[in-house]
């Protein structure tokens, strides 16, 4: 089994935080889509980087390239046609940036203190796992953050994708050496969900005139 390159993986995963942040904060939905595309490519790269240890991950990388980097951005691109500007979010950029830094620091602290809970500290993957998990959690929480604070339906879909990426990143960092991990990763792609959501959002745009989810409160109580 070849040695994986920690530097490469660190670099890639840290870049993921930047892309996530960009995807969440970009006011233009198409810019956000491009940021997400960048992140998808990063995940593919990470998977390839891990594949020195486990060649099955290449299949996942290939699938991810198709689904995450091609299909989902395409769907998003199509869905944002004609309405590129996002509905004003609940929390603005400055606050978000502060929160993000705090979040990242907290996750770092947490994973570095409790990494032993998730991976065997003696194993070869432990070094990268600590950072990767921190990144994965951060991406996950950023996804949640997007879902919770962005009023635009399409932005929440992007948030959902971020959630998924976070889970995938943690999956690959927790158990990179097992062949079944690749299978699990491939099986859990949410591309169909994204397609369906965007389809329904299309209907919503048609009926409600916008994709502001705050208007979706006719059904209550």
């Amino acid at each position: 089994m070849d040695k994986i390159s920690p530097e490469l993986i660190h670099t890639l995963s840290l870049l993921m935080i930047l892309t996530s942040f960009a995807a969440v904060e970009a006011r233009n939905l198409r810019h956000a889509t491009i940021a997400y595309l960048g992140q998808a490519l990063l995940i593919c790269g990470l998977l390839v980087a891990y594949s020195v240890q486990n060649s099955a991950l290449l299949y996942w990388a290939a699938t991810a390239l198709v689904t995450k980097a091609i299909l989902v951005p395409w769907f998003l691109w199509r869905a944002t046609a004609g309405a590129e500007q996002e509905t004003k979010p609940l929390i603005s950029f400055g606050v978000s940036a502060v929160l993000l830094v705090g979040l990242l620091a907290a996750m770092y602290k947490f994973t570095h203190m409790h990494a032993g809970l998730f991976v065997d500290p003696e194993s070869s993957i432990a070094v990268v796992a600590e950072t990767n998990l921190a990144v994965a959690f951060t991406v996950f929480v950023l996804g949640l953050y997007a879902i919770l604070t962005r009023r635009d339906a399409i932005k929440t879909v992007i948030g959902l994708c971020l959630l998924e990426n976070g889970v995938h990143l943690s999956l690959v960092s927790l158990a990179p050496g097992i062949r079944e991990t690749a299978l699990a990763g491939i099986a859990t792609e949410v591309v169909v969900t994204v397609y369906l959501l965007l389809y329904i959002i299309g209907g919503i745009r048609e009926k409600f005139g916008s994709t502001d989810t705050f208007k979706l409160s006719e059904l209550h109580w």
Binding site: F118, L160, S170, I178, A184, T193, I200, G203
Partner: protein
């Protein structure tokens, strides 16, 4: 120990409706009744196969397919029989009902035929994915199947494609996907930890193997994983406070879909929850205790919310929340009688709530009105529907001699045995509220004078295919209530499965109070 038999049945149970779905999508738009025929055939096939498989399970076998990827034990057998039976009845109900809805519902920009094709296709897929979820032995595939059932039903919820339906559909997909992603995180944690303990990725995926090592998981992992699993699958099951998608989706979906959502999908989610979380029960007892508290909380919230509803279907949906609370409470009690009661109530609620939704749909079919306050005096015009609704309401509320009484009683007895008195008292009080809510709704919908706002001549009893499903369910409710022994054996076997998941180490040393009592019904054993 049951012996494992390799069989094609478990796979076929999923494949038959899935194939029907494919055929419907491909061929459905060509001829008039082909899609309906295919749908009936698909669900009937699934039902037949499930019953056959369930029979062999009762003989002490466990059926597996595809190197244990599909795994059909008594618990799964119970679930697939339930799911396919209600699926079949819902399909039968749809035959006339959906034509009526599509033709008179004022659906824009699509032809009737395309709409119906889409409906039956997605319906079959929905049923297939739910069956798959019940049969999967792979923890990741379990997640995938549950998510797939969300996807398959997403368009069904938004079927009417008007403002309300779209809103419901969006919330449904969004909230459930977020929730399910949580459970994915939980599954990944369990898988990764299990795999490292088992030193095998393949085994780390299989629930049947994971359960044997769950006791060795680190505590924080257990807490984190259970939290994610409970919230994740709990969202799908409609556990409070993760339930808000439920009334919207149930109310806006076409009636057969509501019946399936409430009757089957919630149960599948509970099944997934139990399959995964119950592996922590023996080593980590507080998990079960937490589930109990969560169940009680859910049943109270559901009942209180149901009290405030004026929309018939929303009211039923909130009542489903509360009944899910009872089921979770049963599992949370954690003892054999508790799990038995939980499963029993799951079965009964599936039948009764499906019946209620179908009857509510029949009311909407006849009157076009869903507001309880705007309805009244329908008993004369719609006697069968009225009768069925009353049966369903009494069954859900747990009034003898209907089935809900038997399971609620078993539940309270189990709770009393486990000395969870607070839960029992709250449960009984809440079941009174349920009774209040449902009986009140039944009274104001079916009795009193017919309001002027409803056109007299328009109101009529639903056609035969609509009523026959309701009558079958009503008869089942009554039959199980009168003769609960009929379902005792399968439920006991299913409970034993959960129990061995949950309690593989302790069951032998404590003995089993339930079965001990069976042998000597006269005297107490403790």
């Amino acid at each position: 120990m049951p012996k494992e038999v390799v069989s094609i049945f478990p796979a076929l149970i999923v494949i038959v409706p899935a194939a029907a779905a494919l055929l419907i999508f491909v061929l459905g738009r060509f001829t008039g009744w082909l899609r309906e025929t295919l749908a009936i055939l698909g669900t009937a096939g699934a039902l037949g196969l499930s019953l056959a498989a369930g029979y062999s399970c009762l003989q002490g076998e466990v059926l597996t397919s595809f190197s244990r990827q599909f795994y059909l034990d008594s618990l799964s057998a119970l679930m697939v029989v339930l799911a396919s039976a209600i699926g079949f009845l819902a399909t039968v109900y749809s035959l006339k009902y959906m034509r009526h809805e599509v033709q008179e519902g004022g659906l824009p920009h699509t032809t009737t035929s395309r709409r119906l094709t889409a409906f039956y296709g997605w319906l079959m897929l929905f049923i297939a994915t739910m069956l798959w979820a019940c049969l999967s032995n792979n923890i990741i595939m379990l997640y995938v199947a549950v998510e797939a059932s969300t996807i398959a039903s997403g368009l069904l919820v938004a079927f009417y494609w008007d403002k309300r339906a779209l809103e419901a559909g969006y919330k449904y997909l969004m909230l459930l996907t977020v929730g399910i992603t949580f459970s994915l995180f939980g599954c990944v944690l369990v898988y990764a930890t299990g795999a490292s303990i088992l030193h095998s990725g393949a085994k780390g995926l299989l629930l049947s193997d994971l359960r044997s090592v769950a006791g060795q998981f680190p505590t924080t992992t257990v807490a984190l994983a259970s939290a994610f699993l409970i919230v994740g699958f709990g969202t799908k099951a409609g556990v409070a406070p993760f339930h808000p998608w439920l009334p919207d989706a149930h109310a806006e979906a076409p009636t057969p879909v509501s019946a399936l959502l409430s009757g089957v999908m919630l149960k599948v989610a509970v099944y997934a929850l139990v399959r995964t979380v119950s592996m922590f029960f023996p080593g980590f007892a507080p998990v079960a205790m937490f589930l109990l508290a969560l169940g009680v909380f859910t049943l109270v919230i559901g009942d209180l919310m149901a009290l405030a509803q004026d929309d018939l279907k929303r009211m039923l949906a909130y009542s489903s929340v509360s009944q899910i609370g009872y089921i979770i409470m049963g599992f949370g009690i954690g003892t054999q009688p508790g799990i038995y009661a939980g499963l029993f109530h799951m079965l009964n609620h599936a039948l009764a709530k499906a019946l209620l939704f179908l009857a509510a749909g029949s009311v909407v079919y006849g009157t076009g009105v869903r507001r309880i306050s705007q309805l009244g005096g329908l008993a004369k015009k719609m006697p069968v529907t009225s009768f069925c609704f009353f049966v369903g309401a009494l069954a859900v509320s747990g009034v003898p001699p209907f089935n809900g009484f038997q399971s609620k009683l078993a539940l309270f007895v189990a709770g009393a045995h486990a000395a969870d008195w607070w839960a029992v008292v709250i449960g009984i009080a809440a079941s009174l509220i349920t009774l209040l809510v449902l009986a009140k709704a039944a009274r104001s919908v079916f009795w009193g004078p017919l309001p002027d706002s409803i056109e007299q001549s328009h109101v009529r009893e639903a056609p035969l295919t609509v009523t026959v499903s309701m009558v079958i369910l009503a008869v089942l409710c009554l039959a199980i209530g009168l003769y609960p022994r009929a379902v005792y054996a399968p439920l006991k076997a299913a409970a034993a499965v959960v129990q061995t998941i949950a309690n593989s180490q302790t069951v032998a040393e404590h003995g089993d109070p339930l079965y001990a009592k069976l042998q000597s019904p006269a005297g107490p054993t403790r």
